[in-house]
């Protein structure tokens, strides 16, 4: 794995509604290597989602700098794929048409969209096949189960081959079995493509199962208080969570977050 830094967050603070407003994050430092899968965990309301928006360039930091791919983030990045807890698929579009949405918006794809459509559709079909949605191209989102919608949402986040994938509790609303299936789906896709990924989650098992590094955030105003490397071999499988190394790390993380929550009270 390349150790070159792809995302570099240096001393970033974010105030809501002006410098006197609520502090969402404060003095936040964090870096993610190219091709790395980084997880961010923390007590609820610690500013994890603010961190996502900051990195994606959707909100400017009040202080500090953020660099992605060596370039300072000044506005919305165009190399980012995003998925949230809510799949946010468009109900009037079929699964295939939903996957085409980013290609109708992102430059340079949009200018050649019509000409390249057959190729895009072939790519989309391959992607859907990989997440186990082969044959569901023409279904509408409301004809899919929650887990299937989330798979499609993941495909939509990846269709334009983003160099940075940002996931904000993408599996939070799913039942345990579906969630674990999707961990493996995500892991397999990540291992094949090695897109840099930031996964925001409050599920410690999920963080340890998927990530190369786990960053722990403090309660609001959020900052990174510690970072752990996860050296478990890949691909991780349903047996991995029963390894001593895995459970030890989950225990350590849980203890850390308990302390952070206590400090906030």
């Amino acid at each position: 794995m390349a150790s070159e830094k792809f995302v570099e967050i240096a001393d970033v603070s974010l105030h809501f509604s002006g410098p006197q407003g609520t502090l969402a994050v404060e003095h936040l430092d964090m870096s993610v290597a190219a091709g790395e899968l980084a997880a961010v965990v923390g007590p609820s309301g610690c500013g994890k989602s603010s961190l996502m928006k900051l990195v994606a360039g959707l909100v400017p930091p009040t202080r500090g700098t953020i660099e992605v791919g060596g370039v300072a983030v000044k506005g919305p990045l165009k190399v980012v794929g995003m998925a949230f807890q809510n799949p946010t698929l468009l109900p009037w579009r079929s699964t295939m048409e939903n996957l085409m949405l980013p290609l109708q918006i992102v430059r340079p794809y949009r200018t050649r969209f019509k000409a390249d459509l057959p190729q895009h559709e072939a790519n989309a079909r391959r992607l859907l096949e990989r997440v186990g949605l082969g044959g569901f191209e023409d279904r509408f989102p409301w004809q899919l189960s929650g887990g299937m919608q989330q798979r499609a949402s993941l495909c939509r986040a990846l269709i334009h081959k983003p160099s940075l994938l940002m996931l904000d509790e993408p599996f939070g609303a799913l039942d345990a079995f579906t969630r674990e299936d999707l961990w493996d789906v995500l892991q397999a896709m990540w291992m094949a493509e090695k897109f840099t990924t930031i996964l925001v989650t409050h599920d410690l098992h999920e963080a340890v199962y998927l990530a190369d590094t786990v960053h722990v955030m403090s309660a609001r105003p959020g900052k990174i208080v510690s970072t752990y490397r996860v050296d478990l071999p890949r691909p991780r499988n349903p047996e991995t969570p029963f390894l001593a190394e895995f459970t030890d790390l989950v225990h350590t993380l849980r203890e850390q977050i308990r302390k952070e929550r206590a400090a906030a009270l």
Binding site: A56, K78, W92
Partner: protein, 259 residues
């Protein structure tokens, strides 16, 4: 189930029929003279006898209503997009719109006669003024209630405001739009008839006004029946288009969520 379905289909007709029978009976039992409240059968005869005259006026009402309504759709959609996509415009314009909508349009008809003279223009404009508001409000609501997460997804792809509105905002507000069309078309009829009543030489409003001045009350009712029929027909057309265009909004879940 089958029986219920057929009964459901027949219900509107049965309801109208029942009302007409009750109305007829009341008029007979209380011996109400037809220059006060004509029996439905008398209205029907009047409708039949004066059909050419009524149609002469109804045609004009239909045209002015549709013109005013068409104008309302164009203005309402544009206004809705602008108000729905900008918080600042929303804050600035909304009180003005609500204020304007609260003004009784009847009061504006004489003003428009001063500006445009007696005839079609005041009727078209009254129909327009009465019917654009629901369209604008509904389009604005559809655009303004876009999920913030979806906006984040789109903005992180480099989508411009125009992209967001055209790809997501407008398709998303289609169900709201069609709902508002059904309300607006009936309001447009109200508007044009009001204006014709006050200042026109042709139209159902004019006919009703003249007929009541001459105590031809059955003719008044015949005219109103025609307006109501036109309103129902237009409503049905838009309901049909709505069903075709926005099936995704009135979907039935085929298999459950979760899992």
């Amino acid at each position: 189930m089958m029986q219920n379905k057929w009964l459901g289909r027949a219900m509107p007709y049965l309801t109208v029929l029942t009302m007409l029978v009750v109305w007829e009976l009341i008029c007979i039992v209380f011996a109400i003279p037809s220059f006060v409240l004509p029996r439905p059968s008398v209205v029907a005869v009047s409708l039949y006898q004066n059909f050419n005259t009524i149609w002469f006026h109804a045609e004009r009402t239909l045209v002015t209503t549709l013109l005013g309504f068409g104008l309302a759709v164009i203005v309402g959609v544009v206004l809705g997009i602008v108000v729905g996509s900008s918080q600042l415009v929303y804050q600035g314009l909304y009180p003005v719109l609500v204020g304007f909508n609260s003004v009784p349009k009847v009061a504006l008809v004489p003003l428009m006669v001063v500006w445009f003279g007696i005839g079609t223009v005041p009727a078209v404009l009254t129909a327009f003024m009465l019917s654009f508001f629901p369209i604008a409000v509904n389009i604005a609501t559809g655009i303004a209630t876009l999920e913030p997460e979806l906006q984040d997804v789109l903005r992180s792809l480099g989508a411009s405001r125009l992209d967001i509105i055209s790809r997501v905002g407008l398709p998303r507000s289609l169900p709201y739009f069609f709902a508002s069309l059904k309300i607006s078309i009936t309001l447009a009829f109200v508007g044009s008839v009001i204006s014709e009543t006050l200042a026109s030489d042709r139209g159902i409003g004019t006919l009703v006004e003249q007929a009541s001045a001459n105590f031809k009350i059955p003719l008044v009712f015949a005219g109103l029946v025609v307006v109501a029929t036109l309103g129902i027909a237009m409503y049905a057309i838009f309901a049909y288009i709505e069903k075709r265009m926005t099936h995704w909004a009135t979907r039935t879940v085929e298999f459950g969520i979760g899992g």
